[in-house]
């Protein structure tokens, strides 16, 4: 089974507490997978492990066949794996466009010499990124707010911005941490459609942490269930729905 992203028996301890306990998951390219579990199950910590914000105490993480545990977060992003955060981390005092334009990789203008000289190459790159940013903002319905400071957005809009911004890094895979929390029904549906479109048209792969069951059930090809740091089970939405242990975990939580 060829996984785009794979975690093999990863462990994360914080002092005496084991937040992630020999968790193994594998996500195939072009799929949309879900990660569910009660609060405190370790989902966000797993994301942190997958994207380099924490180093696992044991186990390993592979992306595109290469070992990535132990790399810095920015290095992992450059390889094509990007994440969003559970609590939206918009760059408050910057406009939406600035938030978006921060993300793209390979911006020549980030080097001191180029920044000062602002050669035509730099300017045209900017323009390209600007066009792309506007396209994405248009799709997620935030285009008209492009010059607003990010701090003025609503909760759901902020999460939308997180996703849009992540897309600007030209990723192959996105890890989305509760992308629809705080979103309206409309916004949620729009995001779900967008994710589906991205998968279909661009072959992007997704791993999504979600609490809204209708999102998970309708969107995901495969679901991983975590509880107490361990992976309880995985399977199709139907399988997971009928799994006894899963039901108990949620009721017992």
């Amino acid at each position: 089974m060829n996984f785009l992203l794979e975690a093999q028996k990863v462990v994360k301890d914080f002092g005496g507490l084991r937040a992630v306990d020999h968790c193994s998951i594998g996500v195939e390219k072009g799929t949309i997978c879900g990660l569910i579990g009660p609060n405190g199950a370790g989902k966000t910590t797993l994301f942190d492990l997958l994207t380099g914000f924490y180093k696992p105490n044991a186990g390993s993480v592979y992306f595109k066949g290469q070992r990535i545990d132990g790399l810095e977060p920015h290095e992992i992003c450059l390889k094509g794996l990007v994440r969003t955060f559970q609590i939206a981390r918009e760059l408050k005092n910057m406009t939406l466009l600035e938030n978006m334009l921060l993300a793209p990789k390979g911006q020549l203008g980030e080097h001191l010499g180029y920044a000062i000289a602002q050669l035509p190459k730099v300017l045209s790159l900017e323009k390209e990124n600007l066009v792309k940013a506007r396209q994405i903002l248009e799709i997620v319905g935030l285009r008209r707010l492009e010059s607003e400071l990010a701090t003025n957005l609503s909760g759901g809009q902020r999460k939308m911005l997180e996703v849009a911004r992540a897309l600007m890094t030209d990723p192959e895979m996105l890890l989305l941490d509760e992308p629809t929390s705080g979103a309206t029904f409309e916004e949620t549906r729009k995001l779900m459609d967008y994710i589906e479109t991205l998968r279909r048209d661009q072959g992007l792969t997704f791993l999504v942490v979600e609490h809204k069951m209708e999102v998970i059930m309708n969107l995901c090809d495969k679901i991983f269930v975590m509880n107490n740091g361990q992976k309880l089970t995985d399977g199709t939405p139907r399988e997971v729905q009928q799994n006894r242990q899963v039901i108990e975990a949620y009721l017992g939580a």
């Binding site: 955060f85 406009t95 920044a115 730099v122």
Partner: protein, 309 residues
């Protein structure tokens, strides 16, 4: 008047330097005075006429007679190099610790300046620093020097603005706003912090050289944390994050308060009265500004993303 203008211009460069570190990138830096000193001393040591002398009984060969321009460039380079070396260990520290470390380092520079007499002539300082236009009359000399400083200020302003409006500036601001996200988006935080730190140092070093030659002589006790304090208040009042604000703030603070009050009468026997009062007022200004107008006189403007065609 001219001397006030020159001083304001030189200090403005320092404020621009702090703005790059704090205003753009959010690096809490209390050590600007240290890089100012390094620049001043580097330039002074290099440009002093060569001399063998006995200083406190120590045989002392100081000065290489390097022309002014050389001193200027060397000052910037020296400050930048030192910043780079210091930055490697310290830029990984969190905000408030960095602040303390930077003061500590700035104080260490001062100790070195005082104690390493073989290098810096100790507390006596270095005198007789050459001015590039000393061939002309006093008035013309000062005038030309002012224009020189002004020219350099404008160039540095231009460079700062360019950085601000560029993708680089965006990354720096991203680091200021939320380092974790910026890192998650693929930017190597350490590299950019270092860039800001070293750039700020180079600016400060330049200012130091300009100061040394304006002043004609330098002594270690000039480079005290008070300078850092004044620059901070200038930036805060003017508008942190904003280069125009930085210059305006410096103009207001240094120009009006610091130098303008020079002309108030001194009371016999209480020569410290005016300077003391001045600093108290400045301190109060800082606190009031933070409380009532934290964005400063000129708030940070949103970046212009498209060139006007």
């Amino acid at each position: 008047m001219l001397s006030i203008a020159t001083i304001v211009a030189i200090y403005s460069i320092l404020t621009l330097a702090l703005n790059i570190r704090w205003g753009y990138t959010g690096l809490l830096d209390f050590g600007i005075a240290g890089f100012f000193a390094i620049g001043a001393y580097t330039s002074a040591i290099l440009t002093s006429p060569p001399s063998e002398e006995l200083v406190f009984g120590v045989r002392h060969s100081l000065g290489f007679g390097v022309p002014f321009l050389g001193g200027l460039l060397a000052a910037a380079a020296a400050a930048a190099i030192v910043a780079y070396l210091i930055g490697i260990p310290t830029l990984r520290l969190r905000g408030d610790y960095l602040a303390i470390m930077t003061i500590g380092l700035s104080e260490i520079f001062r100790y070195v300046a005082v104690n390493e007499k073989w290098l810096t002539r100790g507390s006596q300082g270095i005198r007789n620093l050459p001015r590039p236009f000393s061939g002309y009359s006093n008035l013309l000399d000062s005038l030309f020097y002012f224009f020189l400083v002004l020219a350099i200020l404008l160039i540095l302003y231009f460079i700062s603005q360019r950085i601000y409006n560029s993708p680089l500036g965006r990354v720096l601001k991203g680091i200021r706003e939320d380092e974790t996200v910026t890192e998650a988006l693929g930017k190597k935080i350490f590299k950019f912090r270092m860039l800001a730190f070293v750039s700020g140092a180079a600016f400060a070093g330049l200012a130091g050289s300009l100061w040394a030659h304006y002043s004609g002589s330098i002594m270690p006790h000039e480079f005290v944390p008070d300078i850092t304090f004044l620059i901070w208040v200038s930036l805060t009042i003017g508008g942190s994050g904003n280069n125009k604000g930085a210059i305006l703030g410096t103009l207001v603070l240094i120009g009006i308060l610091q130098q303008g009050t020079r002309f108030l009468p001194t009371i016999e026997g209480y020569t410290y009265l005016i300077p003391g009062l001045r600093l108290i007022v400045i301190g109060l200004l800082l606190i009031l500004c933070l409380r009532f107008r934290p964005q400063g006189l000129i708030p940070e403007k949103a970046v212009r993303l498209e060139k006007k065609s």
